[in-house]
């Protein structure tokens, strides 16, 4: 199995297309970091304009931790689209190229090939996320320094001490990996249905946009299906940055406000991954390879 995964990884990283996503993420992050470095103070003032009269915040608000949070908010919506570029091409791209028949005449079952391809696509996704984490978190910490994380939520503010922040990012990135792997598996499923790459790539992007709209619309009809949509759960990495308070309304270090919500989301996302990959295997096993 490992030899099949190595073959798939070799192919992924031999293609120039693979590096577009890494380049795009780097370019976006650098531009945002540069903008905030040059004009960060006015941005911080804008963020805090509603509470400036009632609250005085000491220290460096615009620190590496906050920059990372801002970047994740912006990018974790778009990274799935970059993931789709590779994941949705994994099977359909080979069918289009005609090389699928070369793979399927080797002495390995189609199930093994599909799993190897999914694992390789998942490794790519995780590497993309690590790249994102490195640039968004560590480079931001290096450029902007560290301090307590001050977050403005819709009707309250959260202040997390700087020594209580880093593990939350680890949790958030692990959660984000599940969210992105769900996108990978969806792209993979659509890829198994098609013999050209464009359809599954556009299909995956469209599905994400469509279900995200359903997840955010507060219409009673959609409320029934919302808990089952993967897009409803993809953004719950933010739960790692909601903290419990004690009776004096003081933040409890090391706490998370809603752990069950994170657990539920992880279960829903995992079930989606299993469902999408299993369906891909079934489709490919039954498929006549005509390309």
């Amino acid at each position: 199995m490992w030899s099949l995964i190595k073959v798939e990884l070799y192919k992924i990283f031999s293609r120039p297309r693979t590096y577009i996503a890494f380049g795009a993420i780097a370019a976006l992050i650098v531009v945002i970091q540069l903008g905030l470095k040059i004009d960060g103070d006015s941005y911080a003032s804008f963020l805090m304009k509603d509470i400036n009269d009632t609250l005085t915040v000491d220290g460096k608000v615009l620190n590496g931790y906050l920059i990372c949070y801002i970047l994740l908010q912006l990018l974790l919506v778009h990274v799935p689209l970059l993931v789709a570029l590779i994941a949705a091409d994994m099977i359909s791209g080979e069918a289009n190229l005609g090389t699928l028949r070369l793979l399927f005449t080797t002495p390995y079952s189609r199930t093994r090939w599909v799993l190897a391809k999914f694992i390789a696509a998942s490794i790519y996704t995780i590497l993309l996320l690590i790249w994102l984490a490195f640039l968004a978190l560590f480079v931001s910490m290096w450029i902007f320094g560290t301090d307590d994380l001050f977050l403005m939520k819709s009707n309250y503010v959260v202040l997390i001490e700087q020594n209580d922040v880093l593990w939350r990012y680890v949790g958030a990135f692990v959660f984000a990996s599940f969210a992105l792997l769900t996108v990978t598996s969806l792209g993979f499923l659509l890829s198994s249905l098609s013999s050209n790459s464009i359809g599954p790539i556009v299909g995956t992007m469209s599905a994400i946009v469509f279900f995200t709209i359903l997840s955010t619309l507060n219409i009673p009809l959609f409320t029934i299906v919302k808990p089952y949509l993967f897009t409803t759960h993809m953004n719950n990495w933010k739960e790692f940055f909601d903290i419990q308070v004690n009776a004096n309304n003081e933040a409890i270090t090391g706490s998370i406000l809603n752990i069950p919500k994170i657990k539920t989301s992880l279960v829903v996302l995992t079930l989606h991954i299993i469902l999408f990959v299993s369906a891909s295997i079934l489709i490919i096993k039954k498929k006549d390879i005509l390309s």
Binding site: L102, T105, T106, I289, L290
Partner: protein, 310 residues
Amino acid sequence: MFGVFCYYVMSVIKVQNISKHFGSLKAVDDLSFEVQAGQVFGFLGQNGSGKSTTIRMLLSLIHPTSGQIEIFGKRIEKDREAILEQVGAIIERPDLYPYLSAREHLELFAKVRKQKIGEADINATLEKVGLAHRAKDKVQTFSLGMKQRLGIGIALVHNPSLIILDEPTNGLDPQGIADIRQLIQYLAKEEGKTVLVSSHLLSEIEQVAHQILIIHQGKKMVEGVTKELLDPEKRIVQIKTTDDANALKVIAAGRFSNYLLPRGEGVYLKIPTREIPLLNESLVKADVALLGIETKNSLEDYFLQITSNA
């Protein structure tokens, strides 16, 4: 018991009544044949006659609608992995990864074989298919002929005992065609490989194949030893009558039945020249309304006739 043992040793491929339907289209229709060990088996038919569909079924890329395929005495649907370990194949076009080099292709496919394939094996394969001098070049810079050679290299890199080559000379220049012909002969004669090679050109097949099978519209038309099929002493004749069904019935019941060739329309026989007058006589005696007996010059004529009349 001994007979059964010998049978399995000798028959590398055994195809029994396989059919493949795509909706209402019968791509392959009740096809049966056997390929013996060490043989070069020519699989001949027009483009779209069902050759590639049959080959894809042999390689389990396509699931047959009905019928049974055994390779090395094992059922393909049950022992697929064990069978494919010993099979090398190219199917139709030489589709490869444009961003990888010839060497990278061979290294990649060597990794997914259970045999130990080293650097020396890869170099030898590159030499064998005449690509040693372009080993490091990306496939996107290759001509169709070079891609075809690399496809054959991928099929050979793990030293399989059965080689299936679907239209291997497509896109090759005359020298390339001659090289492939030589390679096929070498593989069978010197290395004892069994080779199934398909083509739509009889002239390509007749020079290398021990046995020939011609299919048309998914059905078997002729099968036989190449030397016998191309024997100038035997002529292919078309019996023209007002009632072909009756003529077929009469011939099938008599001593000329062994000479009958399968054909959708018309009555064809491959018959020694000296026996043509006797055939004529027997048909007249059986009151077959004979319009004439037309002699075809060669298997090529017959092949062209059955394929062009479709």
